[in-house]
Amino acid sequence: MAVRVDYIVKETALNIIRNPSLSIATVLTVAVSLSLLGAALVIQQGVSGLNTRFKDDVEFIIWINNDASDDQISSVERALAESPVVKSAVFITREQTFAEFEEYFAESPEVLAAVTPEDLPTSFRVVPVNPDLSVVEQLGRQFTPLPGVRQVDFAGDYIRRLNQFSSAASITMTVAALASGLASSLLMYNTIRTALFARRREVEVMRLVGATNWFIRIPFMLEGLLQGLVGAIFSAGAVLALNRVVGGAVKGADFRLFDSFALESGQLWVITGILLAAGALIGAVGSGVAVTRYLEA
């Protein structure tokens, strides 16, 4: 027995046309649930981007005078290495600083043109053992009077607070994503069950004339898959729109801390892919499971 493609296409199309209100309900359910999931993914990506920027735990930066001698630099380095309360310290060359500078002012070529690596200072980025603010500040001040040191900048309390907040946000969003995914599966399942209830006679007739269970399932699953996919397309649109709005707000601000919330297109494609796959899967599997209830011989 070959499964006839034209039969399946016709049945799927008829099912959708004959039950437009339920089709729309299913599509909207998927769209709303997956939009939630998509928003959670966007925020989670943003938070993890934020964490990447600050997760190195750099608490303060020791800027070195441009005219400092190599001896002075190495004595600072020694002091850092010998200090038991310094976990690690990294020396940042002029070229590295310039590279960051280039990235920072990527959209302001006139600023870049006016600066060469030689104009920029070298520095040490220091990670202390104890990140407590008072300890860090006390430690940092010890380096201020050393020869060749121009200035000590502290990461500041607010960044660490933000860091704590962002890891909490990351966990919350993961939980929210899982919960909304579960909710959308259950909603799909219920919507499809309602749709199937309206067509239980059809399923009954199919069983009585000897249709196989898979033959009965396939048009329903294909219908669910299509509805899930359409819902997912709507949700992907919502996510792209959300990202555009957030991206616009972030780009407009001079505060670059939240740049990570404006996702790159690569990340957006991944999220869109996840949403489409989730929509198709939820639709097909939800329908398959729901129809199985009516197949018990």
């Binding site: 027995m1 006839r4 004959r18 007739v205 009585l208 004339v209 011989a297």
Partner: protein
């Protein structure tokens, strides 16, 4: 063709549906199952296409034990058994042609077979000119003819009919009986029909199996209702 060996079936919380029933029906026979409501007629029929499984005893169709059938083979069994019901079970959103075609489509029959078989069977049941009508545009008798066409279009060897004339006036019922009789005689199809209709049973003078409280109390060839 059909054999029940000491079949017992009980539904939870109800009086026993079938009690130690034994009967054999040969190919090409026409059998009436008679008895009051709840006497086990429908259960008898539902056991034959494995809509129910017996609590004990064996049900054989075509020499095969239905109880031993793999679940995936149940559809193949059902393709050999057509079903007609008191309430027709037609699909209201489909035309006569689509209702009958549906039975062939869902078992994967090729299009060219459907295109020749469906008009032929509709002609046979006397609805050749109403193929594009919807069920709600037809009389009760016509709807039952559609359901018979759907049950018979795949040329099953057995036709089960559960009170097929229960919703019809006597004259229309006679027309349906004439059709079932013709299917039985011309195609040598075994017909098992559960009925309350004394007039029909007495007129047809076919084999009668009488059930009472789940037991077979009479099995009579060329019988009458009581």
């Amino acid at each position: 063709m059909i054999k029940l060996e000491n079949v017992t079936k009980e539904y939870k919380g109800s009086p026993i549906a079938l009690k130690d029933a034994t009967a054999e029906i040969n190919k090409g026979e026409f059998v009436f199952l008679v008895g009051p409501s709840g006497s086990g007629k429908s259960t008898f029929l539902r056991l034959l296409n494995k809509q129910e499984v017996p609590d004990s005893g064996r049900v054989l169709v075509n020499g095969k034990d239905v109880g031993d059938l793999h679940p995936w083979k149940v559809p193949l069994l059902r393709r050999q058994i057509g079903c007609v019901f008191q309430d027709f079970k037609l699909l209201p959103s489909r035309t006569v042609r689509e209702n009958v075609s549906f039975a062939l489509e869902v078992i994967g029959k090729p299009k060219h077979i459907i295109e020749t078989q469906v008009p032929a069977i509709c002609e046979l049941v006397g609805l050749g000119d109403k193929m594009e009508k919807y069920p709600n545009q037809l009389s009760g008798g016509e709807q039952q003819r559609v359901s018979i066409a759907r049950a018979f279009v795949n040329r099953p060897v057995i036709l089960l009919a559960d009170e097929p004339t229960g919703n019809l006036d006597p004259q229309t019922a006679n027309g349906i009986m004439w059709l079932l009789d013709r299917i039985n005689r011309s195609a040598n199809t075994t017909v098992v029909m559960a009925t309350h209709d004394r007039g029909i049973v007495d007129t047809m003078r076919r084999r009668v199996i009488e059930l009472s409280h789940g037991s077979i109390v009479r099995d009579q060839s060329r019988g009458v209702y009581d």
